[in-house]
Symmetry: C2
Subunit: 106 residues, 2 copies
């Protein structure tokens, strides 16, 4: 189990961080813009963003004095892979997909 994988799981454990991810799904934001959506200081939001970054779930690009935070689209990959091992819903989808693939083979 990679440290990166653990950091991703840890990042997802906090409700505020999950909300931040939902926000960033809508649009990229500076720290201040993210902070506007919560009743806590910018410093606290900054900490959450750092943890999300450590988990590989977001990336930051610099534009002048602004730091734009954006989702890392493939950031969920490790988490998703790990979880899919247990998920029957996922298994059902794969089962449904398999015949279609075999059909394509013909």
């Amino acid at each position: 189990m990679s440290a990166m994988e653990h950091m991703a799981f840890r990042a997802l454990a906090d409700p505020t961080r999950r909300e931040i991810l939902m926000l960033l799904k809508q649009s990229d934001m500076t720290i201040a813009e993210v902070a506007e959506n919560f009743q806590m200081t910018r410093a606290a939001i900054k900490k959450h963003l750092t943890i999300l970054s450590d988990g590989g779930l977001i990336v930051t690009r610099v534009e002048g004095r602004a730091r734009i935070n954006a989702l890392e689209p493939q950031g969920m990959q490790h988490v998703f892979d790990w979880l899919s091992y247990f998920d029957t819903f996922w298994d059902d989808r794969l089962s449904a997909l398999k015949p279609a693939i075999e059909e394509d083979m013909k």
Copy 2:
């Protein structure tokens, strides 16, 4: 966001608990059997199992004086649903599946 969903994410945040889930995927176990796989006390394992249960990821059945812990197959559902919103890999699979479904419709 449901409290249940949060408890599931919280349960997954700890490496020991993720290992326990991997163990239970292999076979159902009593608390003592789970504890054999770790270098910590049975009481600590019991706490982890309680948190996993709170998150709906495992269920416990009573057999005499033994408590058998087992995976809750659909326990990952909420977590999986939430994550799938971000996962491009998942989107790719759905995209691949869609033509096959449409083909079935004909």
